[in-house]
Symmetry: C2
Subunit: 231 residues, 2 copies
DNA sequence: ACCTGAACACCGTTCAAGT
DNA sequence: ACCTGAACACCGTTCAAGT
């Protein structure tokens, strides 16, 4: 659906390429073809401009990705968070996770490209605040945030990779997953007692959604260590 | 140092390109120029062959990366692990982390490309075994492994990205880190009370090595949840 | 069998030239 | 100002042809 944001005062003149139009075309392209297909040349075609025109609005490809990131961060939901500090931490991390899981490529850009968008700093604040209210020192609160971010980013990247791989390898076939069967056999043939015993159930076990449980376990562990629970 | 592994029975004949020679050249290239520079064409040049020759030994670029992965996995240290099951889990995860942190690109390939190499399955086994001996069900043990892997992969990817970014942006400058100063100011100007209060210390706080502490906290949290510690 | 050059269909980016 | 075509220096991969 092009032209969702109408250009005001449209005349007969050739359309000028605006920053907003470029970002709009980029989202359209990502939606339709996946973010791997977001190249400067394809984006230019989608926006109806010459490839070189883009360089009047973005410094380079990295800058484009950063702008897309900020655009997305500005759209992220900002729900009311629970008063209770531990629940506040869990809720903030969950929002962060769910927002990013919808667009795993954002995390790839985040880790490879630039810093988190300013408008997404609020949940860092929420997590640090919750941790401090739970009795953490500022250092411990930042460590807690970092741990949760590593866990969250890793979960999204690993699961997105697995999902893509399964989809690619099973694209031709119908019915049973060739990918799952390959993995099952490798586990079964590993000669490792615990793994091979679980081989038949492995594909099911590793696709279960376990982020929320892991998050709560991690938060509890980090808070109890901060309170002196560690050796 | 080319030709570390001498080709047996060298004659006057033009050297045949072997799988081992290709992998050797690939490691040399990665060591020297970074893994981003590992292209088929550059690899061919490094190996002293035509680009097209590579396709006799690898199916495509993905296959090359998978072979490099297996090559690396086969070299990973396999230390004796502690008897005590909780320490066994921690030790196995630490080996996994330290091995991969030396070559963060491996994790990128792992998440984007193919499954973990067969020869690296032993520490999955070690973690699952330790968890079971701690009283976990097989499901819980696999969940625990997955959680630790997400945390580990995320830590490596995020920190490698930050380090590379800082290095790139500070390449020209000497002395004070421009990158650190940029981040400091963004935190300070965020208007978020806890974050802006920490702005001056932020660069130091987020570069600290906290993997080991986070790991122990996560393991404790997961084990205590598995024992019914959760709500 | 093993290797190759030429070719195809792409990239990101620069820059002088057009309006 | 804003946009462009031509060009540069790359990619991964295929394929018919050479030895």
């Amino acid at each position: 659906m092009p032209g969702t944001t109408p250009s005001r005062g449209r005349t007969g003149r050739p359309p000028r390429t605006s920053r907003a139009q470029i970002l709009e075309a980029a989202w359209r392209l990502i939606d339709r073809d996946g973010w791997q297909k977001l190249t400067m040349r394809r984006l230019a075609a989608e926006a109806g401009a010459a490839p070189t025109t883009l360089y009047h609005h973005v410094r380079d490809r990295d800058d484009l990705l950063t702008q897309l990131l900020d655009d997305y961060a500005a759209r992220m939901p900002r729900p009311e968070l629970p008063e209770e500090p531990r629940e506040r931490v869990v809720a903030a991390a969950t929002v962060m996770h769910d927002s990013l899981a919808a667009w795993p490529w954002i995390v790839e850009v985040l880790t490879a490209g630039d810093f988190i968008g300013d408008s997404a700093l609020w949940f860092v604040e929420a997590i640090v605040q919750g941790a401090v209210e739970c009795g953490c020192t500022p250092e411990q609160a930042v460590d807690l945030y970092r741990g949760l971010w590593y866990y969250t980013a890793g979960e999204i990247l690993v699961r997105a990779g697995t999902a893509r791989r399964r989809a690619e390898r099973d694209a031709d076939e119908g019915g049973v997953s060739v990918y799952d069967e390959t993995v099952r056999r490798r586990i079964a043939d590993s000669g490792l007692p615990h793994l091979s015993g679980l081989a038949d159930r492995w594909p099911g076990l590793v696709t279960r959604e376990t982020y929320p449980e892991g998050l709560r376990a991690f938060v509890d562990g980090l808070l109890s260590h901060a309170r002196g629970g560690a050796a």
